[in-house]
């Protein structure tokens, strides 16, 4: 059984005056509702032009499952950012040099894909998707 562990630390000494912020959390990522570790993943690096929404994932995996997504905007220009969302709903803006990590349940097949769109200029990003269960698209004959 594979073991995938995700750990985060968040700290600030001056966000809340007089109170140091220190958050630490770690989780071992499991298949949907089980104590079995994830066994599938994909990762990559892309460059996307501004003005077009791109699908980061197909929707051929387990519906309403336990998948996890990491994205890092590796662009260095502070003016450029990546808008991310699910299907047609955009949820947030990932600044240059920033990363995100979410659980993703692929709620509705073909209707829950992760989307990214570069804003203000071409953006590069790295990503990894850890999957509970997935199938490859059938090749055209």
């Amino acid at each position: 059984m594979a073991t995938t562990t995700a750990t985060v630390s968040i700290s600030s000494s001056d966000l809340m005056p007089g109170s140091n912020l220190s958050i630490n959390a770690s989780s071992t990522l499991m298949k949907t509702g089980l104590t079995t570790g994830l066994t599938l993943m994909e990762m990559g690096n892309h460059s996307i032009a501004t003005g077009t929404e791109f699908n980061l994932s197909s929707a051929l995996g387990e519906v309403n499952g336990a998948h996890y997504v990491y994205i890092c905007n590796t662009t260095t220009n502070d003016d450029y950012y990546i808008e991310w969302g699910l299907h047609d709903t955009m949820i947030g803006n990932l600044n240059s040099g920033q990363w995100m990590f979410i659980p993703w349940n692929n709620a509705v097949a073909t209707d829950s894909e992760i989307e990214v769109e570069a804003k203000n200029g071409t953006c590069t990003f790295e990503y990894a998707i850890f999957k509970s269960a997935w199938t490859l698209a059938t090749a055209a004959s």
Binding site: T4, T7, S9, I10, L15, T32, L34, N95, F101
Partner: protein, 145 residues
């Protein structure tokens, strides 16, 4: 200007060679080199039912920005989870837009534009689950009088 640092480490042996992701970031305001310097505070909430609940109210925050939201399910059980949704009031498997299922011990940190609430719902009506969460805000709106 405040400085908020966040570091992620992901390690995995899914592939035949080790996967190691290690990234640090300083949370910044949208299209700016200036750091995020506001928060709505670190909060904790116990859930004893499957009722939907709003944990981040978008009208506390400036729209169309680069807020960052941290959420952790502090429960130990990997059987139970929270649905986390980008939705005005509802969180379930299919209501637009479900983000994911946050199982016991899992955490998430994601950029959020502040345009719609973040809603959650516990999967269990019998087991108490606790969420801790915090918004690192790229603009907090003053409380309405």
């Amino acid at each position: 200007m405040a400085t908020i640092n966040a570091n992620i480490n992901i390690s995995s042996d899914i592939l035949s060679y080790p996967i190691r992701i290690n990234k640090s970031m300083t949370m910044k305001k949208l299209t700016s080199c200036n750091g995020i310097d506001e928060t709505t505070g670190l909060r904790a909430k116990r859930f004893t039912s499957t009722d939907d609940a709003v944990i981040v109210e978008h009208d506390e925050l400036t729209d169309d920005k680069a807020h960052m939201v941290y959420i952790r399910n502090t429960s130990a059980s990997k059987v139970n989870f929270f649905y986390v949704s980008y939705n005005a009031s509802t969180a379930d498997a299919t209501t637009t837009e479900p983000i994911g299922k946050l199982y016991g011990g899992d955490w998430m940190l994601f950029p959020y534009n502040g345009n719609t609430n973040i809603s959650v719902a516990s999967s269990s009506a019998t087991d108490t689950q606790v969420l801790e969460y915090m918004v690192f805000a790229d603009g907090v709106l003053a409380a309405k009088g």
